[in-house]
């Protein structure tokens, strides 16, 4: 039982990583003068879209937390809508937090927002897939003794690492390289 779970987990994570790598490599075949640093906005879009699709796809295939009771179609729709709303709200909240942390308010709004979207795909989307739109469950998972399964543990670790990585990404900003991409750093 546990072995299969671990295998599934590994499989899912490998997929995620591969999707990120592909999102940096593949578009250069289709788009002219694409590069991660030069056209960072496009890359941010592509990367978040990629990760989103892979995550949803994985969720459908793997079904980490299969719910016992069968639910109606309407229920599923409402769940999906709720998820969308949550995702959007998390983007807004992340945007607010980034601005409060010192990002410029009006200039480069687009960069900030795309960064917030990317951050949401790495954190909120994962939570939504694993736990569903259930804030109480989220609060439970993100406390000391809250992780009940190996999936919860992996969720904890990936989310924390994403946020810490984004936080660490602020450190190179003051270094005087004067490159445009420095303002927003990627994280995994």
């Amino acid at each position: 039982m546990k072995d299969t779970e671990i295998k599934k987990l590994l499989f899912a994570h490998i997929f995620c990583v591969v999707s990120i790598i592909l999102s940096t490599v593949v578009p250069s075949f289709f788009l002219e003068n694409f590069s991660v640093l030069g056209t960072h906005l496009t890359w941010l879009c592509i990367c978040s879209a990629c990760v989103t699709t892979v995550n949803i796809f994985l969720y459908i295939i793997v079904k980490p937390n299969p719910s016992s009771k069968r639910s109606s179609f309407a229920h599923k729709i409402s769940r999906f809508l709720k998820c969308c709303i949550y995702f959007f709200m998390s983007c807004i909240v992340f945007h607010g937090i980034i601005v409060l942390y010192g990002a410029p308010l009006i200039e480069s709004v687009l960069e900030t927002f795309l960064f917030a979207v990317l951050l949401s795909t790495f954190t909120t989307l994962n939570c939504l897939c694993m736990l569903g739109p259930n804030i109480q469950a989220w609060i439970r998972v993100f406390s000391k003794n809250g992780a009940m399964s190996i999936w919860d543990n992996s969720l904890q670790i990936t989310t924390m690492c994403s946020i810490v990585g984004a936080w660490l990404g602020a450190f190179p900003i003051p270094l005087d390289w004067d490159r445009p991409w420095q303002n927003f750093c990627s994280e995994v």
């Binding site: 601005v99 409060l100 942390y101 109480q136 609060i139 439970r140 602020a170 003051p174 005087d176």
Partner: protein, 981 residues
Amino acid sequence: GALHRLAASRPRHARLYRFRADPPTTTMQRIKGLTTGSLPTFVDVGSNFASYAIREDNLLAQLVRNGRRVVFMGDDTWDGLFPKMFSRSYFFPSFNVKDLHTVDDGILQHLYTTVDGGDWDLLIAHFLGVDHCGHKHGPDHPEMAKKLTQMNEMISSLVDHLENDTLLLVAGDHGMTDTGDHGGDSEKEVNAALFVYSKTPLFRAGPPEEPETVPQVNLVPTLALLLGVPIPYSSIGEVMADLFEGDGDAVTASLSQLAAYHVNAKQVDRFLDSYALAAQDLPGDRLKQLKELFTAAAEEHAQLLAQVQEGLVASPELEAQLGRLRGHFQHYLREARAVCTASWARFHPFRMVAGCALIAASCLLCYIASELANALDFYHHCFYSLFGGLLAAALLGWARVDLDPILVVSWVAAASQLGFFWHWWSQRPRRIHLASVRPPVASMGLWQRLRAWLGPALPLGILALRCGAMFSDSFVIAESQVVPFLLASLAMLWVGKLHWDGQLSTPSDAPKQPPGSLSCHKESWPLLGLLAALLVCLRLSSLFHQCRDEVPHCQPSPCLAPLSSLRSPQAKNLCYLLCVASLVGLVYAVRRWLRHYGNLNSTSPLVLFVRWGFPLTAFCIACYWAVTSGTEDTLGKLQELVQAALVTFPRAVYGLVAAGLLLVLWKPVTVFAQDSRAAAGPIVTPFQGAPSSEADLLHVISQIYRRMQESLNSRLEGGSRWAAVAAYGLGSVYSAALVITLTLLGFFLLLLHSERMSLSFLLLFLEAFILLRLHVSAMSLAGEAEPFVVPWNAVIAWVLATAQFFYSTGHQPIFPAIHWNAAFVGFHEDHATHLVPALLVAANTFASHILFAVGCPLLLLWPFLCETPGSRRKRLKKDPQDEEQEPLMEMRLREAPERFSAVLLQLGLKYLFVLGMQLLACVCTAMILRRHLMVWKVFAPKFLFEALGFVVSYVCLLLGISLVLRVDCAISAWYRQLEPR
């Protein structure tokens, strides 16, 4: 202007140069450079406004020794530098940067008559109006245009007054930044102009396309040789060859230039020789190389002279040789100057390391002592060691009087620290033994111990990041953004950790509850609100930042400029109203707070002062702002009245603040006591003259202290009658005194800043309040049974807030960013001493250090203050059995007096530890990176500011703690006074 016209129309008579100053570009350093021809040293900057006489050899001294007459007019800094050197002098006060005209008008009054009189050899006229105008209004202000026009007219009329054999030099001693300041080493500050003019032709050819760049020190040898006096001994300048051409043919011109070069090179060689003997800091191989250059050039020169005298060489060949030789001399002089510039700073590595070690040991001591604060007997022994150290130092000092006092002091510190550590070490085994006896510690596993250690590790990690950031110049430059970032991260971590530990939500994983009903603590929402408010505060505070010149596209905050610089009247009025509103808001918030805790009820003088004096002070400040923000010209006849008002209002504020502080010290108890032993009924709050609703409010929220009763009852035998004294505001008496003091200090510091900074001060108080609330709710959520210990989180957040508001009150750790204007708030005339302006400027610069350090004891007091749960509020005080339940608030501290002082000491030590770590990091960077490119620009000023800030914080922390102790004494006296009744 006149200069360009002259230079263009008479190219052989006039020329314009680019004049380059050596940093630092403060006025006194420039005067020194212009007269001695040597490079300024960095530490000299500090004595800019207490200038000492120049002891080195200089141009003026040489002139006087050779019987020349030097006349001076203008800036009185010269008077201090060259006492009794001038044959005639007209000094005018220079220190008041707001005064644009006194110096210039004074000079103009005397200039032409003196020039025409002709009884002088060198006349120096130092104008100051343009410089002051830059400081006051900035370079792009209409006032500046007026000033420059005036100077232009002065030059063109002065030219007409010149004799035929007079050389006119017009030079700026430094440039100015975009904000009109100077002192640093940016391109705009070090560049000025030098203009040369004479009625007799000076130059053989017209000027080059691009004006030549001349270092400032070159003026000294040039002037000395032109005036026929020896070049000052320590000059390292190079003569300006253009001025020695004369009007003969090419060969004679070259020969006279060469003669000048030769004299100059000889002088520099002599100076380098004797300097190398005295100090070892010039690299030996470079010196040797220089010496070879010099001897080669000198020999060649001698040979050439001999050849010329014999008439051996043909003219074109001679010219080529002369040109080559001139190149050699030039090369030598430039190399010599470069060598001096590169290594003209002496370091004492041993003393540096010793100093670092001392600071590190002090930090360690603070840490250990704060961990041990509860073992009281420990401190008695420490005093012995301190005493022993002092005694040893006294003996040492007595035995050898000639010792350097700094060395003595550091030996004392080291000795007393050694005593402390020795004592600590010898006590250690016993404590470990004691600790192992206690079962809970013994049973703790490694993991648990690690976990317990992890608590302080997170905030200390943030502190380590902050210290580490000081090792990179980019991070020091960006520190105004780094500090809020770290503070925000610390707050997030703080709250996040509470959540992680599950203290934010009630435990619900018990099986009986369905997983959906996980409910949050009632207090967790306010906590999140506080966090958000803190983040907003941090973000808003970045609106008030000053710029460093290293940051390319930085615009300094518009709030830093005084209101008078605003052009449009509507904007001015709006800003003024906003400032006054923030002031009123501050006063209102403080009074509201005091009323909430019932400290505004009594009739003691302090309370009366808070009621009437605070609004009066605010009114005075508002009036002062109104007067200063008016334009200068429009007022016309009222000018004198305005001048009087400019002095009167700030002085009134100083007086009020001083009176308030004295009152706080004299009678800090703001308790309203009602003796209800006569009236047996329930206590009614007797707040006279207030509407009934307010009385009700007071009734509900004012705190009643009943502890008294017990002590009285135990004295009155048998409890035959219930004697009760109701005391309002006793529970918050310590904090009330501190808050009043802080507000008074806030008024004072607010006055020293420009008007719109009052918003920043409002933000400061707000953020301090939020931090305290956050601290309290975090503590109550974490379920600390013992509110006596202030966690590291709170202390570090407090220190980070200090640093943050250093930047948010418009400061930067660089010299041009110091607000010199603060020295003239309330003092229109020049100061008699340098003490008052120095204090005012220091208070302006370290405003946040002062406020946060004085307020530091609040971190300890606040949790007691917020102890009252809402449920207890409404309880009426009829039943004596209920008294045990009454919140004691800060009186709990009085229950354990020895504990109280220990805890206060512990808090102080923690605060000092955090500050000391920052200082240590700064010292280490200044030491390790002492050859770094950015050392004089970034690290050394940062170190000086940090060290001064540390001293200010330390003193203010002591003052804050002693204020708390004073309140303690006053409370004891109050009790004694109550008892006999």
